[in-house]
Symmetry: C2
Subunit: 324 residues, 2 copies
């Protein structure tokens, strides 16, 4: 079964890459920048170039849907680059083209805060897409870089769907009807996403799950079914948000970047500042089979399971990664 994960951000190692192979993961969108500047993001790309070289038996770089099939044929896991913030393009629209050439295929218009393009879900008010944001949406559309609104606020997300001429993605979030976290998405957003041909990747990050780390596989699979009814079976996939083996310093960087002198705890709290424990049925890339089993038990057809586990992302990549 074609297996594609719409977002991971792990502390990459041979152990993890081997787990990806053991889990038959054909492709994963990996985050290569949160708050990095252009130069810092370039250095992260260079770091990945070294990983591809060192682990060429396990990995290859993916820039197109065809590359995913090639990875699968070679028994490797294809890696797609993405940014969880627009900081790498700084204030320069022309850097979209540069990063696309280097393989970046997803970019969030904001992380949790206001960006130069859009508003993050932790701001009090959301005025929608900015003037610069409209320029960037057009440029991302032109090049074939997917607009990802996983961390953005409601109006910004709805306007991104409206202003973009191509379908957008929410690579890693869940419906708010399942668990009303600030990062999860309203029915309004989900319906607009599905109607526009976009994709939602279901998150396995405990703060996005009902009952957190204790979320049951049954509840998760019921959510998948309920969402399929709302947005359509063709517009959902996995976007695990798996942050494996990361030290707490990394979640601190994700939340605070360089912007806050006070410590911001994001989805956590002062007494619960570190990484949450993963649900016991999804701890690493060998566990996609548990989700498949869960969906089978929940009564999904094999056709629908294939769509959720990878075919929908594949169709989305086919229409999204090339020039318009």
């Amino acid at each position: 079964m074609l297996t594609i994960d719409g977002m991971q951000y792990s502390n990459w190692s041979q152990k993890i890459f081997k787990q990806m192979r053991e889990g038959d993961l054909d492709c994963v969108h990996v985050t290569i920048a949160y708050h990095e500047t252009c130069l810092e993001a370039l250095r992260n790309i260079v770091h990945w170039n070294r990983l591809f070289e060192q682990h060429s038996d396990l990995l290859c770089k993916v820039q197109s849907a065809a590359d995913v099939l090639s990875a699968r044929e070679q028994g490797k896991t294809g890696v797609v680059f993405g940014f969880q913030n627009c900081s790498p393009i700084e204030d320069d629209y022309s850097l979209v083209e540069v990063f696309h050439a280097l393989g970046v295929r997803f970019m969030q218009l904001s992380y949790n805060n206001q960006s130069l393009l859009a508003t993050g879900c932790y701001e009090e008010d959301d005025p929608g897409i900015t003037r610069f944001g409209r320029q960037i949406i057009r440029e991302m559309n032109r090049m074939g870089m997917v607009i990802d609104m996983s961390h953005s606020a409601e109006l910004s997300t709805l306007e991104a769907i409206e202003f973009s001429e191509r379908p957008i993605a929410i690579t890693h979030a869940n419906p708010a009807f399942f668990h009303p976290a600030r990062r999860n998405k309203s029915d309004t957003v989900l319906k607009a996403l599905g109607e526009s041909g976009g994709m939602l990747g279901f998150s396995l990050y405990p703060f996005h799950l009902r009952n957190g780390s204790d979320c049951t596989l049954e509840d998760f699979c019921r959510m998948v079914g309920d969402t399929a009814e709302m947005v359509g079976i063709d517009h959902i996939g996995i976007g695990s948000d798996l942050c494996q083996d990361q030290p707490d310093s990394v979640v601190n960087w994700m939340r605070n970047g360089r912007w806050s002198k006070d410590t911001d705890y994001g989805e956590g709290s002062a007494s619960n500042a570190g990484w949450p424990a993963q649900p016991d049925w999804f701890g690493n890339s060998t566990d996609y089979r548990n989700i498949v089993a869960g969906l089978e038990n929940a009564g999904f057809s094999s056709d629908h399971i294939e769509k959720v586990m990878g075919k929908n992302w594949m169709s989305f990549f086919e229409k999204s990664f090339g020039p318009m």
Copy 2:
């Protein structure tokens, strides 16, 4: 008479520095960055270090109110650094302290667009000060860097006044009641500014003037009087926005930076894309005397003229440029 200009951005040359001396200009706040990154702004500071060295007979650097008096005693024009955007601090609150140490005493929280801190007056919607913006206001307050909202939108400006523990400035803009340009300020903003102990610098940039380049000195001085009645004679000064000898490429940079693939004409238009002509009574730094004469003719007392021409800025510098 102590003469201070709250903002100029000219194509600096010996000719201009000599005109400043001829016009007995004791101090000028100069813009050293619009859309520059941290490194680019550092290079602009380095460029000014060379100008101070090369023109040490005419200029000196000002970092405190005492430095202004020292410049005056030496018969030089003191120069205060400022940013018209927050781009030089990028996403890093700790750069406020760095740039303060290098002499930067004013920073706009936004230029015309949405910034990471606040909203510019050309955006459709203005959600006010962002999360990062609140951190930066506190840090600017701590160090003694003046919050300048000359180009910011209404709510962002009101919130900056509210959130800042120290008075803020609008270094170069006029009241909208005089001329309803997007860059000019509402009665609400002006009253809040005055009540909080802030300063307004009157602009001589034609797009901010009634009848543009044909604005009469009489109309300008009447506006000064009307504003004094509204906000108090102690809260107004000159902030000429003089952009002398600049090529049209510079106004294009100010308006477009690197953010827009389309050409943005700002306050101009496709058919009027370049710099507007200055009013004939204010073309360079020898012309402050014309404003003094105009205020005399308009019936201002000598005490009030001294306040408008420099004493108010001096008082503001005294309370603003040091640590809290």
